[in-house]
């Protein structure tokens, strides 16, 4: 086989070639030092460009993205603000006043009519509340917005009888505040990543509706943000073996120092691996949307070396945090509390086959 060109190597690394082509390249690279060097360089370029692109994710403005409505977050209006109930109450009061002042022979009939009207009004309110709750259970406000744009019925007419824009805004603000609180809480433990956590938490809120779960699967309940943001120990339960030994053996002095400072003892479990150096995880199996420890997506902010093998400057907050897109579309910021290596070469797969299974375990954050 001729030497593959750079584009072909990238296609191979991106798993975009036919099986026969991929196998041919694999065999060739194994026996050609020049091409092996090109592959290593291409891996570095892929990792570095991914890291650079991920730097664009921090949006400077204080933007509150659309959020999924949560029933608990939908602010219900006080009874006097509900038109139907208010009208019923007003009618009852005025009727009672009229009855007490006139005390005519037909007063009971009038009072009975008033009561019936009040009940009717309450029923109407209950129906409206039902519509309101149905609306609140929609996956996201944005979907509702798209629907509203589609619908020929004026949106305002609906909004006045359902939860409405005010409730939307309240829900958005509520989620944003909750996200900020959670991020600040994490910040106390983790260090300097509050802004990143806030933006990610907001993105989590925006995506709290299941995003990539199969359409037929039941939607899993979205975990509160406070449960999602925290410290996790990420473990790999398969496909570790010799690579773990390799990772541990090539641990840099800084990683050793960090680990010593962390008080970590040598890992006894054979399932522990480095995640700080994994750029992309794409599980090939079917993720279980109901299981929060199954991940599917991209781990970013985890690249520590460039094409030439030189260490790119990374702050601890970057190398210690990974962002995981959950199977249901939510984004999880996790802090890697056990770092076994920080050299990219330690975890470069010889073949572009992703790990078979990744799990994470929530742990208490070190103080």
């Amino acid at each position: 086989m001729q030497h593959p060109d750079e584009g072909m190597i990238h296609a191979w690394l991106d798993d975009a070639l036919e099986l026969s082509e991929a196998q041919a390249i694999e065999v060739h690279v194994a026996s050609c030092a020049t091409c092996a060097a090109m592959v290593a360089e291409a891996r570095g370029l892929i990792a570095a460009s991914s890291r650079i692109v991920s730097l664009l994710d921090g949006v400077p403005a204080r933007v509150i993205p659309p959020v999924a409505r949560s029933r608990s977050m939908v602010r219900t209006r006080a009874w006097w603000q509900q038109p139907a109930v208010a009208a019923a109450a007003l009618f009852c009061v005025s009727t009672a006043t009229w009855v007490s002042t006139h005390r005519s022979t037909g007063a009971r009939d009038v009072l009975s009519t008033a009561t019936q009207r009040a009940q009717s009004a309450e029923t109407q309110f209950a129906n409206e509340q039902s519509v309101s709750e149905q609306s609140a259970s929609e996956p996201t406000r944005s979907v509702a917005a798209v629907r509203a744009m589609k619908s020929p019925v004026p949106v305002a007419a609906t909004a006045t009888t359902t939860t409405g824009n005010v409730a939307d805004a309240a829900a958005a603000v509520g989620v944003a505040r909750e996200a900020k609180t959670a991020a600040r809480s994490s910040e106390r433990v983790v260090g300097k990543s509050a802004a990143e956590l806030v933006s990610t938490a907001l993105a989590t809120a925006a995506a709290s509706a299941p995003a990539s779960a199969p359409a037929s699967a039941p939607a899993p309940p979205a975990a509160p943000l406070s449960l999602l943001i925290g410290c996790y120990e990420i473990m790999q339960v398969a496909d570790v073996g010799a690579r773990r030994e390799s990772a541990t053996a090539s641990m840099s002095s800084s990683a050793r120092a960090a680990r010593a400072a962390d008080g970590a003892s040598p890992r006894s479990s054979p399932t522990a691996i480095v995640v700080a150096n994994l750029r992309r995880l794409e599980l090939t199996g079917t993720p279980d949307p109901a299981n929060a420890t199954d991940y599917l997506g991209t781990i970013s902010n985890a690249v520590v070396s460039n094409a030439a093998g030189a260490t790119v400057r990374w702050s601890r907050e970057s190398t210690n945090h990974v962002r995981v897109v959950l199977a249901d579309g939510r984004i999880l910021v996790v802090r890697v509390v056990r770092e076994l290596a920080d050299t990219a070469s330690a975890m470069v797969d010889p073949a572009p086959t992703p790990p078979a299974d990744i799990t994470a375990r929530r742990v208490s954050c070190p103080r």
Binding site: D5, E6, G7, M8, I9, H10, A11, D14, A16, A42, G44, L45, A48, S49, S50, I52, V53, L55, L56, D57, G58, V59, A61, R62, V63, P65, P66, P139, T140, S142, V143, V146, R147, M149, K150, K180, R184, E187, K192, A194, A195, V198, A203, A206, A207, A209, P210, A211, S212, A213, A215, E282, G297, T298, N306, R313, S315, V325, G329, I331
Partner: protein
């Protein structure tokens, strides 16, 4: 397209689409707007073949159209100006109240890195940039080719060129920044 179909599309692709657009535009609000418009157009379609590449292609075209509208730019600039003024006023108020905003502000180092990343990405050729951003959102080569009207065989070359240029540009900026910093340190 039915409402159920729309919901399914939305659940699957809203987040990656908005992230792609945010990276492309540098403006979350604008990205949300374009994403909304994209889903609205999807709603008008009876059937979508290769839905992910369709959505990304439509979003990309919408951005292109939007960018041509001078009025939108003016509005955005006005909005940015107002936001900057509001932020400045907010900063003054909070600092006057003895509160620090440093928890939420990116470090100068991080802000500089972000600015360099933006410049490096913007320096790429349009096709290279879009292919790279789409790939980062997980589109495969066929989808990228369909969205950008490329041949599948050329996507690898496009991506390799984009990645190399982006990395080299960014590293050159870093080196330049480091040398300026060194000069400043020496001068002080």
């Amino acid at each position: 397209m039915t409402d159920e179909e729309l919901e399914r599309l939305f659940r699957l692709y809203h987040l990656p689409l908005v992230r792609y657009l945010t990276r492309r535009l540098g403006d979350r609000d604008w990205a949300e707007e374009v994403a909304q418009e994209t889903f609205l157009r999807a709603l008008r379609q009876d059937v979508l073949h290769s839905e992910r590449s369709w959505l990304f292609a439509v979003a990309t075209n919408l951005v292109r159209d939007e960018a041509r509208k001078e009025s939108h730019r003016r509005t955005r600039l006005q909005q940015l100006t107002l936001e900057a003024q509001a932020e400045a006023a907010s900063d003054v108020r909070e600092r006057a109240a003895g509160l620090s905003l440093s928890d939420e502000e990116p470090s100068p180092e991080r802000a500089r890195e972000r600015a360099m990343a933006r410049r490096a990405v913007d320096a790429l050729a349009e096709k290279d940039r879009l292919a790279l951003l789409m790939r980062e959102e997980g589109l495969d080569y066929r989808e990228i080719a369909a969205a950008l009207d490329l041949s599948v065989g050329s996507v690898g070359t496009t991506l390799s060129r984009a990645r190399r240029r982006l990395t080299e540009t960014y590293e050159a900026m870093q080196a330049d920044s480091a040398s300026h910093q060194g000069d400043r340190d020496a001068a002080s």
